[in-house]
């Protein structure tokens, strides 16, 4: 077991601590509430660990710099919120296409546009996956506690490195600014995943920085490797990283970008259950709304309703199996989220079981209350 210390801290600070514990040594970002404390923490902590903080001129450049630093071999991260996350989308696609691992912390706030800055919301669920153009898959994790901000940061970097992909850390204002005592556990060396390197002795002639034959990314080297040259591009490319826009190549690249994540959904999925054993009424939620949902389950249980909760920690790829199980098990499912029903739409996609899917939404910049969840259930219950 690694060394553990207890620290009272806020979510945004726990994200920085988790990123550094995961091995992150590069941050490029542009301050925006409610994520600014991540930048503040990164500026303070990174040089202490030999890393670099740079405040870029905007979020377009921040995301591009992340791609550059990742290619140079660094574990890199940025932190932003709504407007900034929108600006990052094009170069998020660059990271997807070039397969450059990195972690993007999105501490969600109300929108669209400046919205009710900087009140909490969970309106970026769809943007996290569909924000950049073109078909691809992505990994997104949603923390529901300050402890998650630390622990899941390590998971996020590990997944980014393993699958050579950007990972979205889909936090929100509530969790980012929540304060709690966190166990800061130093990870064991074996717990940290680093991008796969080519086998020793690989020659340039044999080296392929991309592999479209299966569903796992090719090994890569950082730019500056003594033996191998790297080549990446946001254009559709072949195994060598050279532009190849033939119909066959475009097709296999698109399919690969989907399957390298979708085929590993079991490895990537993290869900949690609360009082689910005998539940016939299931709340499905993620992020800050999980906290209201848990209390709602307790309130309902007191009233004799057999309620339970399914928490989606991994929100992309969507945990289809777990959602289907809940839909099969329950008569009523309530999807609890701080948006107009983005997750509810996903849950309905899987509802082949005639389950009654109810929405509990709040979009006025305030965390949904347990009572509102209960009322939503009662209003829509069959």
């Amino acid at each position: 077991m690694g060394k553990t210390v207890k620290k009272f801290m806020e979510g945004n600070d726990a994200m920085v601590a988790g990123a550094i514990a995961a091995g992150a040594r590069f941050f490029a970002g542009y301050p925006i509430s409610p994520s600014s404390e991540v930048a503040k923490g990164a500026a303070k902590e990174l040089p202490r660990h030999g890393g670099i903080y740079i405040q870029m001129e905007d979020e377009l450049s921040s995301m591009a710099a992340l791609c550059g630093a990742s290619l140079a071999g660094k574990k890199a991260f940025t932190a932003t919120s709504g407007p900034g996350f929108s600006l990052m989308q094009e170069n998020l696609g660059l990271a997807v296409m070039s397969e450059l691992p990195c972690v993007v912390y999105d501490v969600q706030r109300s929108g669209p546009s400046t919205g009710a800055a900087t009140k909490p919301a969970q309106g970026d669920l769809m943007q996290a996956k569909y924000g950049t153009h073109g078909d691809h898959s992505i990994i997104a994790l949603a923390p529901s506690s300050v402890q998650d901000c630390y622990d899941l940061s390590i998971t996020a970097f590990n997944l980014a490195e393993k699958y050579r992909t950007p990972v979205i850390f889909l936090a929100d204002e509530v969790i980012g600014h929540l304060r709690a005592t966190v166990s800061i556990r130093e990870p064991e060396p074996g717990e940290i995943i680093n991008r796969k390197a080519p086998a020793p002795g690989t020659t340039q002639k044999d080296f392929r920085p991309y592999d479209y034959s299966g569903n796992m990314p090719a090994p890569m080297v950082g730019v500056g490797d003594r033996n191998l040259l790297m080549r990446t591009t946001g254009s559709t490319h072949d195994e060598k990283g050279e532009f190849r826009p033939t119909p066959e190549n475009i097709d296999r690249v698109t399919h690969y970008l989907m399957s390298k994540i979708e085929d590993h959904v079991d490895d990537i999925t993290i869900t949690r259950e609360y009082k689910m054993e005998d539940a016939d009424t299931v709340l499905i939620s993620f992020g800050c709304s999980v906290r209201s949902s848990m209390s709602a389950v307790d309130l309902l249980r007191k009233e004799g309703v057999k309620a339970g909760m399914l928490e989606l920690v991994t929100v992309w790829p969507m945990p289809e199996k777990q959602i289907r199980k809940a839909l099969q098990q329950a008569k009523n499912v309530v999807v609890v989220e701080l948006n107009m029903g983005q997750l509810a739409g996903e849950v309905r996609k899987y509802n082949d079981y005639g389950c009654n899917v109810i929405q509990a939404n709040r979009t006025d910049g305030v965390l949904i209350t347990p009572k509102q969840v209960v009322d939503a259930l009662k209003g829509g219950m069959k």
Partner: protein
């Protein structure tokens, strides 16, 4: 002695560029400078943006990163800070580097990121059919200024000098010897260097403005050129419409990484 050929990939030839396009001259110059300096390929990284010139990476046998339109310098910033031992080249068109990406240009210069930026300025967006860019001369014709361009244009070198670049130079595609000299000096400066190469896009800009064949465009450019020494003796009136070529600024100072490394050294606990 190494040759420029040692740094190039030949299986992609012929190039995608039009006959007479100046981008190939810049490509050859970059490869020739690497040969002259005898640099290890593994120490070279080239970041390029989107545009006709952006395709320069296709032909170079070094580390290459081809990114999005306008963001090459931002990505190059990440590469240069991610591995400070590299020589980072950043190749951009005038649209890429000074129009959509103009903000990154001034900030990379101001921060003095250790990158050699090479902008091939053909006064228009060649790739997309010859629309106007931030460097299109006033009154000239492009696909999207059919009645004459009404905007004033950027002087890229003045912009970079004002923003704080360590080294700034300009050459025309007529004079590859000067291009090589400037790129070589720029690469040897630790900090932000910018080399502007005036280049010809005969297919669009040349055609729209009835400048004739590529050879004539290059000759015209050369006739417009005055050296820094000549320019010093000329009045602003006389300098109108001229291209001042040569080294326009050479004032190295500590680059961003060197400064940041001092912070790391002072604060390091691990």
């Amino acid at each position: 002695m190494k040759s420029y050929k040692d740094y190039m990939l030949f299986d992609k030839l012929p190039q995608t560029w039009c006959a007479g396009c100046s981008h190939g001259i810049v490509l050859q110059s970059i490869a020739a400078v690497m040969a002259e300096l005898d640099v290890d390929k593994h120490d070279m990284a080239l970041v390029s943006g989107i545009g006709c010139f952006g395709r320069v990476d296709d032909y170079l046998d070094i580390n290459c990163m081809h990114v999005t339109h306008g963001r090459a310098l931002a990505a190059a910033t990440g590469v240069a800070l991610g591995n400070p031992n590299l020589h980072v080249l950043c190749t951009m068109g005038d649209g890429d580097g000074t129009t959509i990406g103009g903000n990154h240009l001034i900030h990379a210069a101001r921060r003095n990121i250790n990158v050699t930026a090479i902008i091939s300025n053909n006064y228009n967006y060649g790739q997309t059919g010859g629309q106007y860019s931030a460097t299109t001369p006033t009154h000239s014709i492009t696909q999207t200024s059919p009645y004459g361009h009404i905007e004033d244009n950027f002087d890229i070198c003045k912009l970079a000098i004002a923003a704080g670049a360590s080294y700034v130079g300009r050459a025309t595609a007529y004079n590859p010897v000067m291009i090589r000299k400037l790129i070589k000096e720029g690469m040897q400066v630790k900090g932000f260097s910018l080399i502007e190469v005036m280049s010809a896009c005969p297919t669009h800009y040349g055609k729209f403005n009835k400048l004739g064949e590529a050879a004539r465009m290059l000759k015209l450019m050369n006739e417009q050129s005055v050296t820094v020494a000549q320019a010093a003796k000329m009045s602003p009136e006389e300098l109108k419409g001229k291209l001042v070529v040569g080294v326009l600024k050479n004032e190295p100072r500590d680059d961003y990484y060197t400064e940041y490394a001092r912070i790391i050294e002072a604060q390091r606990i691990e």
